[in-house]
Symmetry: C2
Subunit: 137 residues, 2 copies
Amino acid sequence: MLSKKTKYGLKALTYIARSESDIPVQVGAIAKHEQIPQKFLESILLTLRKSGFLGSKKGKHGGYYLRKDPKDILMTEVMRVLEGPIAMVPCVSLNFYEKCDDCPDEDACSVHKLMIQVRDSTLNVFRNTTLADLSSK
Amino acid sequence: MLSKKTKYGLKALTYIARSESDIPVQVGAIAKHEQIPQKFLESILLTLRKSGFLGSKKGKHGGYYLRKDPKDILMTEVMRVLEGPIAMVPCVSLNFYEKCDDCPDEDACSVHKLMIQVRDSTLNVFRNTTLADLSSK
DNA sequence: GTAATTCCTATTAAATCGATAGGATTAATA
DNA sequence: TATTAATCCTATCGATTTAATAGGAATTAC
């Protein structure tokens, strides 16, 4: 299941990308239009800022803005920050690899083989989708 | 993340498929060879039996056996029984559809669009993989 | 200096997951 | 028929994760 965090994060990024104006977008506005609990959204945007997708301006008339062109923001990057590993099992993860406790031989493991395929097909989607694709109608 | 339940279930099915003999395979044997807690595995095999993948024989010399040829057991079916919906969000699920509470218009939702693509690419893998593929070395 | 906003940390309630416990039922076989 | 060995069934538990809330500190526009 996709976490609410990721869902909200993607919606917020899309919202900001669609706004296009120079003035920063406020959390309150996003929360209202996308029906997201404001305090929860605050923490999500904070993560997105700390990982370099967003910039922020504090104080009155503050808010968030994109630090890169939407077409340069890949879903692989966003998903890894919000949702974590793209792979369904750590033993096939490219960025978060961990060996299985059980499983003496990965190459003989049927689950391993299957999950590599799933990982690759999902990666293929995320690698070929940018925030610009999401925010175009 | 893939649940342990699914992981163990897939390993168990593979183990049974590889055994090939006519005598039923016992939970204890699977648990031992695949390093799965036996009581947990019992409950998983029970689900797989109730959903028609496995048959069982009770009492001494009892155990589990496949009810279909491995090449006729699709990953789509197995995954739905063990892991639940293949889609990452209910609003793009073919078999477990639910409308989002928020999201007035699915077609305008960026998450929706993305998750349809992920669902389709994952489905493509599961539809083209059978237990026979998993159990072949 | 006041109002509005982001920033930060901690906490909580609920749900899910992985595993365990304890026996009831069934069947082979000595 | 008694014993043993296996599946079957229900309930429960502890740990983890998730989604959300709380409360204020820091910063900035005006």
